[in-house]
């Protein structure tokens, strides 16, 4: 590949570390930053350096924060008896948007993925167990994804947490709110039928 210089080469190579960015996109980004938006590039440089220097994982919930314990965990007006386990910070934002949950969180920053070699050690199960056994947690809500990997993660965590005497629950799955059976995918419908619950008044 012919290129203007090795510095440019290095930049495109570096940009490829981003998920979903191949050689073409990386080149496009590099040209854009250098030619069209040098200010943007400066800003990117600064904020990246800042983030790398100041952001760390919260001691309590493992999410990104600048302090030892993040704002949400230290706020004091959350229900410390509930701990909701999620795969990613994006999941946590979504959870907060529901305004339906007042407890605390733990973000795994991943999920078990046996074929990729990601096991309990790679995810840091022991840190979650430690967090959940801090004395104030009564119920752990497993809210990992309903993918095969998310389910496997929930199962493994469930076993470990129950062994510690904690109450463990799993978020429900089924027909979405406002869902019409005619338009729901068959897999979801089949599972909703299998996991049906007694009708209450």
């Amino acid at each position: 590949m012919s290129s203007a210089s090795s510095t440019l080469d290095e930049l495109t190579q570096a940009l490829r570390c981003l998920p979903g960015v191949g050689p073409k996109s990386a080149q496009r980004m590099a040209f854009h930053l250098l030619h069209r938006d040098r200010q943007g590039a400066e800003r990117l440089l600064l904020s990246l350096a800042q983030a790398l220097e100041h952001l760390r994982h919260c001691d309590q919930c493992n999410n990104f924060t600048e302090q030892a314990v993040c704002e949400l965990c230290s706020s004091g007006n959350r229900d410390a008896r509930l701990l909701c386990v999620l795969e990613s910070p994006a999941d946590m934002l979504m959870m907060e948007q529901t305004h339906a949950y007042q407890g605390l969180y733990y973000v795994l920053m991943g999920r078990l993925s046996p074929l990729d070699g990601i096991g309990p050690q790679e995810i840091g199960f022991d840190r979650l167990i430690q967090r959940a056994c801090n004395g104030s947690t009564e119920e752990v809500i497993l809210a990992t994804n309903f993918t095969a990997e998310g389910e496997a993660t929930a199962h493994a965590l469930g076993v470990l947490l129950r062994a510690k005497g904690l109450r463990v629950s799993r978020i429900a799955r089924g027909i979405p709110v406002g869902g019409e059976l005619e338009y729901v995918d068959s897999g979801t419908l089949a599972q909703a039928l299998l996991e049906r619950r007694p009708a209450t008044n």
Partner: protein
């Protein structure tokens, strides 16, 4: 490359593994009855409103169409077939183990219809049996047999005589059962003739067969896998120990 390879209609398939690819796509390795293991690009499948999002999960029978001529072909449609409940709990980890074996041992585009049926059967059993190990052993042996890596369990190599259930044998992964000559040592693993015969009939009712069968399959599999480690096996062990 033949033209009939360019489009495949209505093929039953299971997703073995998926990895994110580019911004919104995924590369899935599927197991099919008539085309073996095939890598497919599922374009746009990671978009929030993609119809296939959530469908390309392992352990669920799908009916798929694909096209393309290179090694990496393109998934066109996938329909959920149903008939196998979602694997739950420990069965899920067993499922991952089966998938990993297939990913490591089965070459791409090497069709084995019988193996596909064995896989489907194993998944079905994993959804309801209490003992998972016999299901795993039966599948492991079927996999090695189908790929031509499993020596006979019913005949002694040197003499060609049928294996005697009351005699003791060693097992050479390349050749098969050899009558045990009384030698001992760390490398000498002995098997009862009955174990070998039970395994040949997929009968694991005897706990002794189950224990020795696991040992034998471990030897046969690691002979084929060489230095490659099975991640899923390690992870299952880590979880059992923690």
């Amino acid at each position: 490359m033949t033209s009939e390879r360019s489009i495949v209609y209505q093929e039953e398939a299971f997703v073995l593994h998926g990895i994110p690819w580019k911004e919104t796509s995924m590369i899935v390795e599927v197991l099919t009855a008539h085309h073996g293991r095939v890598p497919l690009v599922a374009k746009g499948v990671r978009r929030p409103r993609s119809a296939l999002r959530g469908l390309l999960q392992p352990f669920q029978p799908l009916m798929i169409n694909w096209f393309g001529q290179g090694e990496l072909r393109t998934l066109r449609t996938a329909e959920w077939q149903g008939g196998i409940p979602l694997l739950q709990g420990h069965a899920l980890f067993c499922g991952f183990y089966l998938n990993e074996l297939l990913m490591l041992l089965l070459k791409r585009d090497d069709p084995h219809e019988a193996l596909f049926l064995e896989y489907k059967q194993a998944l079905k059993k994993l959804t309801h049996v209490e003992l998972f190990e016999p299901v795993l052993r039966v599948f492991e042996l079927a996999l090695l047999r189908e790929l031509g890596y499993a020596p006979s369990l019913e005949h002694e190599v040197v003499s060609g005589e049928p294996v005697d259930p009351h005699r003791t044998y060693r097992f050479d992964p390349e050749n098969g059962a050899v009558q045990w000559n009384g030698s001992t040592g760390p490398d000498v693993v002995k098997f009862k003739g009955k174990t070998l015969l039970d395994m040949a009939k997929s009968n694991y009712d005897d706990p002794g067969t189950l224990a020795q069968g696991k040992q034998l399959m471990r030897i046969l599999l690691s002979h084929q896998l060489g230095h490659q480690d099975l991640h899923s096996r390690r992870i299952i062990q880590e979880l059992l120990l923690s």
